[in-house]
């Protein structure tokens, strides 16, 4: 999918928690290459779950939102779902509140937004394989 201005939704309430800033540094620097829109500083992770997001990043549509009840991520993703171009990214929250994903499994980052961007950088345009395909055995 190419970047489509009508799909670009201004980022809201996704400030990276200060405590996570150091962990996020490589990703945040890389964000300069991307199609980052606005960022306010009202948001804070850790109160009532991660902040939702919906933006174009390096030409990819990334969305993070509360998981649909009964969905795979309600079960596996700690109640939060991340999508890259409508394909779900498997994520997991660590006991200390940091997050990892299936494509970035050994380097915890501050929140699902940082995880989504790091996944876009790692994918370099590749498509995620639908999660169910991997689960079906």
């Amino acid at each position: 999918m190419s970047s489509n201005i009508t799909r670009r939704v201004v980022l809201r309430g996704t400030a990276v928690a200060v405590a996570g800033a150091a962990l996020v540094a490589p990703t945040a620097m890389a964000a300069g290459r991307g199609a980052m829109t606005g960022m306010d500083h009202s948001g804070h992770t850790g109160h009532g779950g991660p902040q939702p997001f919906d933006e174009m990043y390096q030409g990819r549509h990334i969305v993070g939102k509360a998981a649909e009840p009964g969905s795979m991520s309600a079960h596996h993703g700690d109640g939060f779902s991340v999508f890259i171009d409508d394909r779900e990214l498997h994520i997991m929250q660590n006991g200390d509140g940091t997050w990892i994903s299936i494509v970035n499994h050994y380097l915890p980052l501050a929140d699902p937004h940082a995880i989504a961007r790091a996944a876009v950088e790692k994918l370099r345009g590749a498509e995620l394989v639908p999660m169910m395909m991997n689960m079906a055995h």
């Binding site: 490589p26 890389a30 006991g95 494509v103 499994h105 995620l128 394989v129």
Partner: protein, 275 residues
Amino acid sequence: MAVRKNQAGLSATDKRNFVNAVLELKKRGIYDGFVRTHEEFIMSDRDNSDRVGHRSPSFLPWHRRFLIQFEGELQKIDASVSLPYWDWTADNTPTASIWGDDFLGGNGRSRDAQVMTGPFAYSTGKWNINASSDNRPYLQRELGADGAQLPTRAQVDAVLAMTTYDTAPFNSLSEGSFRNYLEGWRGQGRVHNSVHVWIGGQMATGYSPNDPAFWLHHCFIDKLWSDWQRMHPTSGYLPAGGTPNVVDLKDTMRPWNNVTPADMLDHTKFYTYDR
């Protein structure tokens, strides 16, 4: 009895035999089964529920059993082969001989991180990536990209000096835990985890065994566990029993269901290390 050697000292014949056995497992479809099994455990091992392969006390015995199974498959093809280990505190650059054309092949190219050299390059037609979280069919590496660092010998020694095998809550939060500091959810150098990150590509994902470097990395982690046991002969596996969600000393481990951490404590029943 197999003797596992440091990869830096392997002869050309040792390297060729190892590589050929790995390629044959791939050709027979056996290799990808290991990749899928690893990913299933990565996805289901969680800090607050049942955990076996990772972020839990059985991280070390689970991977020991996983490596023994893989080594056994290699030996069915060539009985002379054993798993080599990679001491990434010593051979710690992208130009080290482990990444040579005669062994694991080199770094990925900058455009798409695709490994272009050695026996695991996509162009050989012998190393397609079939089990992955994305649709790229080629092996990728980004050695040391984005400032990633390998653990240093001093960082490893600090972990080896820890005297308690594992501590409550027996997950990625455990403090004062040899296992958790070696696994690298805590501690300077984030030991095991940061090696996955330093290599990048599939090694940084839940499908990390797609890169044969996985086996050499985990073989060194396994050796460090045995080094630690020798340094701390009175420090046993913990927890001993009755702990929810984790594998106690005499509980069986999935997916085998017939092997316990206790069965895995003495590796010399299965293989030895060259030093």
